[in-house]
């Protein structure tokens, strides 16, 4: 850790009211300012790295709301994540980490095969039986939480069904490379299908290279820098072969990571070009908001929008999704209080730190309910998973959709 980054924190406290874990606990150790202080104390030799200290640091959701709020440009969230990587240096990955990060995620076909039993599990009705009988109570609580988060999976992942090239509708205005992302393709394939169709309806030719691998963000979260770099090199190579105007993703987490490839692979100029081409789907659609507006049908829905951390804080995208929702005729858009506060999903945080995750989520749900909206829109798979599960339990249930699903439903003729 660079010492100067630590002393840059002027301790003004501007980060405190933005930090989801501080808001829940009011504890300085659970605040960005406190986390920076802890890392600084270690550097200065005032504190040793103890289990308790690591526990305090690990309470960070890595939502980076602190970075948005910091006057001095300190990114406490990223520093904590970097610290995890540093501590990992030289240590072997555990068997489970090795399995997921090295053997499964980099191979989309294996990942898809691995989730096939889950699809079967749902389609045969076994899931209903298992849930009803409470069989999961016999297994470790993390497994039960993971099972509970699982929404109904599509019949096939989008990677298997989408054409490698989707032609433009009407005169072609450019070519877009589509980065699928693991969870979007596996779980939210309908939303991603809508992404491709919206782009082609606006005159873009969409190239979806099927060999693409996971963006590498899960590796980074687990401190596996090598795995991240492998993924980055592979994806840069793959997309460099096409002449693209933009590389688009509808996953906030992937977008944030892909935009950092140039930084990760400093010696490869193609990585910088790759990163400069990356756009979140909402950015590209908002470019054509007027044109899109003319093609939309009325949707009389009460809608609110949750800013995913990886979109608002990591990529600074706030206006575009709102612009897109506001152009839908008859759609009643309501601003969400604390819209850019984390929903508690945080990668695998909701599995690893269930108690804090639930507290953060509860606050989000209360805010959503207060808007009176009947649809919650967001733009990142982690948030979609977390909020779909939580909002399905409300009475009446609140639907959760990706921005592209709303636009696709409003598009004339309807896409979905």
């Amino acid at each position: 850790m660079e010492y100067v980054k630590l002393i840059n924190c002027m301790r003004c406290g501007m980060c405190l009211p933005q930090c989801p874990t501080y808001k829940e606990t009011f504890l300085e150790t659970a605040s960005p300012r406190g986390r920076v202080a802890l890392m600084r104390k270690i550097e200065e030799g005032d504190l040793e790295v103890s289990e308790r200290l690591l526990e305090y640091l690990s309470l960070c959701l890595d939502c980076q709301a602190c970075a948005s709020a910091c006057p001095c440009g300190v990114n406490a969230g990223e520093m904590v994540a970097g610290y995890r990587c540093e501590r990992r240096d030289g240590k072997e990955l555990s068997t489970m980490e090795n399995l997921i990060l090295r053997r499964l995620l980099p191979h989309p076909d294996r990942l898809e095969a691995a989730t096939a039993p889950m699809r079967l599990y749902q389609r045969t009705g076994l899931q209903k039986v298992v849930r009803k009988l409470g069989i999961l109570k016999m297994f470790p609580p993390t497994l039960e939480r993971m099972e509970g988060l699982l929404p109904e999976l599509p019949v096939k992942p989008l990677r298997q069904t989408i054409d490698e090239v989707t032609p433009a509708v009407g005169p072609e205005r450019g070519t877009i490379g589509f980065f699928l992302g693991c969870v979007m393709s596996l779980v939210f394939s309908e939303a991603s299908y809508a992404t491709v169709k919206l782009l082609s309806s606006l005159g873009y030719r969409v190239v979806t290279p099927k060999a693409q691998k996971c963006c590498g963000a899960p590796n980074m979260l687990s401190g596996d820098r090598e795995g991240l770099l492998d993924a980055a090199r592979f994806n840069v190579d793959l997309f460099a072969g096409h002449r693209l105007d933009f590389i688009v993703t509808d996953c906030g987490g992937c977008g944030a990571e892909l935009k950092k490839y140039g930084h990760h692979l400093e010696d490869d100029s193609r990585a910088a070009t790759f990163s400069a081409q990356v756009r979140d789907i909402t950015q590209v659609l908002a470019l054509h908001a007027d044109e899109l507006k003319a093609k939309l049908n009325p949707l009389s829905l009460k809608v609110t929008y949750h800013d995913p951390c990886h979109i608002a804080h990591c990529q600074g995208i706030r206006q575009e999704p709102r612009t897109l929702l506001r152009i839908v005729p008859e759609l009643d858009f309501r601003e969400l209080p604390e819209a850019d506060a984390c929903c508690g999903s945080g990668g695998t945080y909701n599995i690893e730190k269930p108690e804090m995750s639930d507290r953060v989520l509860r606050r989000k749900v209360e805010n959503i309910k207060a808007t009176g909206a009947d649809v919650l829109v967001t733009a990142n798979p982690g948030c979609l998973l977390q909020l779909r599960k939580a909002l399905a339990q409300e009475t009446p249930p609140i639907r959760v959709l990706h921005v592209t699903e709303v636009l696709a439903a409003s598009l004339l003729p309807p896409l979905l």
């Binding site: 100067v4 002393i7 840059n8 002027m10 301790r11 003004c12 406290g13 501007m14 405190l16 009211p17 009011f26 504890l27 300085e28 150790t29 605040s31 300012r33 406190g34 202080a37 802890l38 104390k41 005032d46 504190l47 103890s50 308790r52 200290l53 305090y56 006057p71 001095c72 440009g73």
Partner: protein, 457 residues
Amino acid sequence: MDVSFISELKSIVGEEHTLADKESLACYGYDSTPEYESRPGAVVLPANEEEICRIMARCHAAGVPVTPRGSGTNLSGGSLGRPEGVVVQTSRLNSIVEIDEENLTATVQPGVVTSALHRAVEAKGLFYPPDPGSMNISTIGGNVAENAGGLRGLKYGVTADYVMGLHTALPDGSLLRTGGKAVKDVAGYNLNQLLVSSEGTLGLFTEVTVKLIPKPQAKKTMLVHFPVLENAALAVSHIVAARVIPATLEFMDRVTVKCIEDYAKVGLPLDVEAVLLIEVDGHPAQVEEDAVAVRRICAEHHCSSFQTAADADEALKLATARRVALSSLARVKPTTILEDATVPRSCIAPMVKFIQDTARKYNLTIGTFGHAGDGNLHPTCLTDERDKDEIARAHKAFEEIFDTALAMGGTITGEHGVGLSKKKYLPRLVGESGIRVMQGIKQAFDPTGILNPGKVF
């Protein structure tokens, strides 16, 4: 701190709300004041008035020092505890007890964040004017203890002007109730006002009642550039002399403007010596009239550009320059020493000039911005704490700046409080008799000296 005392604290506030591990305590060794550090013996987060009184009584009996703390945004070291003492963090006492629309008052717990109070009262068409720069973080309890100011001080005054009633826990655990909802109250000494700006040395607030006013119907925001510093300062004096009292009259000097433009790219010209942000509010007709007068006076003082916001969005854009002043300065170097030297407003120009000359003399970068309308300036020295020589020069420069402020009839702190960092200057301001009277008052409230010891004097 001894284990049995910590378990007594736990029995009052609960295990979860008593912190004594070294990692937690390391995170309470600082507030927002650079260069000051002191690790407390324990930290407690009480849930209500009763728990605060019990903590006080227990600490009093054991002779253990108590330091109150809200969000730790103090800029004079006032919320730092002692190694043998307890820090009481009030963040959990965060409810707005009542907004009384008939009496125009709000009663809140001390841990309510200032901007939360703003939102709550403004939703009812009412207004709580004090708006310290830290208002999104700092608590009302802390605002009262430090008598916090803010950007609207010129027209609306400071926290003290709005505090009507207090509940204060005294060292023996008893509760002192001062003031209340009665607008007029002349019974006995004005303990209420005495407690405001007492910096946690006389008692711990457990409830605060503040005065509200109707929300101004309209406002207009203006951003004005001046190629010559003296002209900006004269414009400030002449606006007030023309009987126009803007809600906000903020100043930024050349160093600040350059840093803002470098980092935030808000479109400020680099050839100006000063920028003023002016906001007038009130009845729409009055606002129009005031805006015209402000424009005329600025033109008479040779401003090079005068922008008026057409709507709220544009007002926000113009105000951005002032709002990001501290941020922009803070990004230049790691250690930002922000002071609050304050002078009568007729002395703004000579004071800013003196600060610039002093910065040159000691080879320092000092950006000055602040509340020109009320003479409250924030000379901000950009340093690197690893450069001991630079830090020493910064201290010498500030010593001269404070002495000059005093010589001009000003004061050593306009809104941050004395705490630890200004206490050596206090005798120069209030004299021997001033210190003697203050110590006598301290003795009356806190005979054993357990309340925030070492602060103020």
